[in-house]
Amino acid sequence: MTTTTGVAAATGAVGSAHTRVEGRDKVTGAARYSGEVPFAGLTHGWLVLSTVARGRILSVEAGPVLAMPGVLTVLHHGNAPHVETDYLGMLGRPNPIVGLFQHDRVPFAGWPVALVVAETSEQAREAAEALVVQYDGEPHDVAFHSGRSDAYTPQDTPMVRAETEKGNLEAQLGSSAVVVDAEYTTPEEHHNPLEPHAATARWDGGRLDVIDSNQGSSWVASELAQLFSLAPASVRVRSEHVGGAFGSKGLSPHQVAAVMATTVLRRPVRVVLTRRQMFSLIGYRSPTAQRIRLGADADGRLRAFDHQAHSLTSSVHEFVESSAVLGRVMYDADAHHTLHRIVRLDVPTPTWMRAPGEAPGSFALESALDELAEKCGIDPIALRVRNEPETGPVSGLPFSSRNLLACFEEGARRFGWADRDPRPGLRREGRWLLGTGTAAATYPSGVGPSTAAVTAEADGTFTVRINAADIGTGARTAMVLVAADALEVGPDRVRVRIADSDLGPAMIAGGSTGTRSWAWAVTLAAKELRERLSPGGGIPPEGITARSNTAGAIGALTEQERHSFGAQFAEVAVDVDTGEVRVRRLLGIYAAGTIVNPLTARSQFIGGMTWGLSMALHEEAIRDLASGGHVGADLAGYHFASNADVPLIEADWVEDPVPGDPVGIKGIGEIGIVGVAAAIANAVWHATGVRHRELPIRPDRVLRAADEARRRATGGARSA
């Protein structure tokens, strides 16, 4: 079922499947990513990272390295050009890590301390490895857990409200017939896009030209201009193809390093991060420890709701993993409390990672809902139906549209939920115990100001200029379809140019806001253009161009709870002798506004669900308490799902018109991951009778939990 409301289908391009416009380039290897554009005289920069987790740099012994073959320069805190970090960027103050080589302090293991530039990448790598840096190390503290006495409640920011509270929580808990009180933990997780971060910078006719891999080239260009005190118009950032991002591709040390070095050397400089370097330079998802308390009447109606989420940040910058926000949307209760607490440690600063907040938060909350359903003896879907709110539980605002129950209804029908025996540990197939689980999903539908230009060309085609970023979402293709419908022409007559800061400012590809934001701007410009094109009138050789800026229209939006919703279903098999867990089936049904391109949208939903599977079973970065750094900071040490882990996953959607919304598109980049880990954990409980409140559900944890359950069952006697 595909909706065709909102940016309506005048020609039917929106809502019908189209292969990616750049697809041919991607399957032939012709598509060039940021580290692949050749330049005459190109040089290669290699970052050197700190080996201590806290302390001071005593010396950078550049002399011997400068004598090595091909080495052109070594930049470090003793000789690096000044960069200005005291500014307010699009997403707030810059992370101090981009204030590259400005002082001798080392706040965590893997902090950038030098850049070696050489003629070839082999020379740069060897010289970087040979560079001796002396440190005065200090004791460090990297141990994260919920019981830390130095945890604090952060200040509210435009991004995250730290705490919300209504009603008397303890009183309602006390008068609840059924109470769930449990702690859930999720580990440190890393984006690991397949394309490592890479930037090539050069000065070209008085302008700084940066070929980069990012989620918003206007954004990165503006940050670079401020860092290097340059006029905004003198910085150009292009990001034609992006090999995955997931929240990690904004401003990072590699772009700053490349700009610094090209400024010093006056030659093009390329800096590519190694996989290992990515673990400390580009951000990650904080580990979380979340306590959830739910109090309900015997029939499951919530009286008390409490979600307290702990996460960490670095000693130099504050980032809050907003795990407790989704209860503010999902469930109401007579007493309702959500709280974020953070602790500062000697670790890199975390950042946004696919469904920041909602991904770990939904594991905890949707697991707790399942535990409540078990305790109440009611079906998990029925429990959610019983607690479906009329308006925003905290805000009291109306929902722009909320079709969560339609998702559960359609999902339950397709998954065969009605046939489910709720009792755990009953189904066996060979060595495998089988179980099923479900969870709800939600993610905000945000929007950001964007400009666009649409040109009617003399040859009868149209050129759309919108500084979108296609990080694998199919943004280019989506904009072709949106423009085609707005112009009432076939998609074959529309060309789209994206990912170049010279196109003018536009929203980043992040937070599921891109498609909604860009489609709005493109539609406005296209409509304006159509009004200016007189029927039968000629078009001059330079074409006729109409421009738009959505800032005003966005400011005029009424205040509403705007979110996507979904229902996740999982079937798992667990071998309790080996601890292996295999997901056999995943189904996700979404209510996410207008679906622009069903082909790529399905891919994106399924991709998100694959992330959820990966989060449930595999992903975990291990921090070594002794050194303060990671152990196994590579793709063999940090597992994400391989092909063999992923079964047939199905994703579909229900009608989700958004009355009165000028766009109708909600954004689908994150919601696929939300709730999946909980659905899988709930299915593991259904298979085995054991609750897993710690992610990932690794074989050792399954074996240990089974041992503990057996011990409890035999009254504490240790079984052999």
């Binding site: 060897e126 900071a633 063999a636 063999a644 074989p699 050792d700 074996l703």
Partner: protein, 330 residues
């Protein structure tokens, strides 16, 4: 990566001569482990002697029904070989369980035997490691060790051997042939990997400068009824957290012959001779398999985070021997 010389060898004596006694020279096979370690700075050879073109790519039969395969046979060719699959399915399965299709096409038999631990402390030159830098300490003992050894480890090193193939070879008494400047030699796999003790940096009993030339599996009909099973933290493309190679001959409910080796539990493939002794002549029952596993694992010395391996290996022994029993009775 440091600069290095490169020579390609075309015959065995030439390869041995090129390497000479240079402690900074290494043989290069498929390169899947060595080149990776060179990038990590763990290996810093001054010279690579490429042995891929040596005439050591054959798989042949020995008198009495054994198998002999050359050191440069790729993992994928060995796994796909019909006689390997017929005479020793567990060997084929162990190879197929390792790495990926791409890596198996590159990796050689000799290199597989010599691959080094994937312990995260060993592969990170900024961390202490007695194996990489003798005397620097073993941070895994107090640190991250949920996939480290439970058998035969020492306070100096608790790393595990990463090879799947070597587990099958250990179960089936493989003999490793090598060539040195002084002539050829042989080592049974039981002596190929020395105990860790206080010398974790000494990983094989090969003489300095030796080139592995071939591996021989002695004749043994029981290997035709064998199986390799691997447990890992994702369904594919991951190192084992526990694995088992087993062969079993049961007649009239009595174990006549059994071979058992465990992987990912020790610094070397762990031949479970104690369990074998317990099983021989006894009943082929789940209880007997469990008792044998317990006898073998009585020597286990788990640390804070890897005790699950005792349970895992016990369960694996029971499961795989039960499967082999059931298949044999069909």
């Amino acid at each position: 990566m440091r600069e290095f010389g490169y020579e390609r060898a075309f015959d065995v004596s030439g390869a041995v001569a090129l390497l000479g006694s240079d402690p900074e020279a290494r043989f290069l096979g498929g390169g899947t482990n060595l080149v990776d370690l060179m990038k990590a700075g763990v290996e810093r050879p001054a010279l690579l002697v490429d042995v891929r073109d040596l005439p050591l790519g054959g798989v042949e039969f020995t008198d009495g029904g054994g198998l002999r395969f050359g050191a440069t046979v790729t993992n994928s060719d060995l796994a796909a070989h019909p006689e390997v699959r017929r005479r020793c399915p567990a060997l084929a399965q162990s190879l197929l369980a390792g790495a990926s299709g791409q890596l198996r096409n590159m990796a050689t038999v000799g290199g597989n035997l010599l691959q080094r631990t994937r312990c995260g402390y060993f592969t990170d030159i900024n961390k202490p490691c007695n194996k990489r830098s003798p005397g620097s300490g073993c941070p895994a003992v107090e640190g991250e060790h949920h996939n480290h050894a439970i058998l035969g480890a020492s306070a100096h090193c608790i790393a595990t051997h990463p090879s799947d193939m070597a587990v099958a070879l250990a179960a089936f008494d493989a003999v490793i042939s090598y060539e040195t400047a002084d002539g050829p030699g042989e080592l049974p796999i039981s002596e190929f990997y020395p105990p860790v003790g206080d010398t974790p940096h000494i990983e094989t009993a090969l003489p300095p400068g030796a080139l592995i030339t071939a591996v021989t599996l002695p004749p043994s009909p029981v290997t035709a009824h064998s199986r390799y099973r691997k447990v890992r933290e994702r369904a594919s493309y991951a190192f084992a957290i526990g694995s088992i190679a087993a062969a079993l001959d049961v007649r009239d409910g009595v174990v006549r012959e059994v071979r058992l080796a465990l992987g990912a539990v020790a610094s070397r493939p762990w031949r479970a001779r104690t369990a074998e002794r317990v099983l021989i002549g006894g009943p082929a029952s789940a209880e007997a398999f469990a008792a044998a596993a317990d006898a073998e694992l009585a020597a286990a010395e788990p640390l804070a985070e890897n005790g699950y391996k005792v349970t895992l290996m016990r369960n694996l022994v029971v499961a795989v021997l039960t499967e082999l029993t059931e298949e044999g009775s069909r």
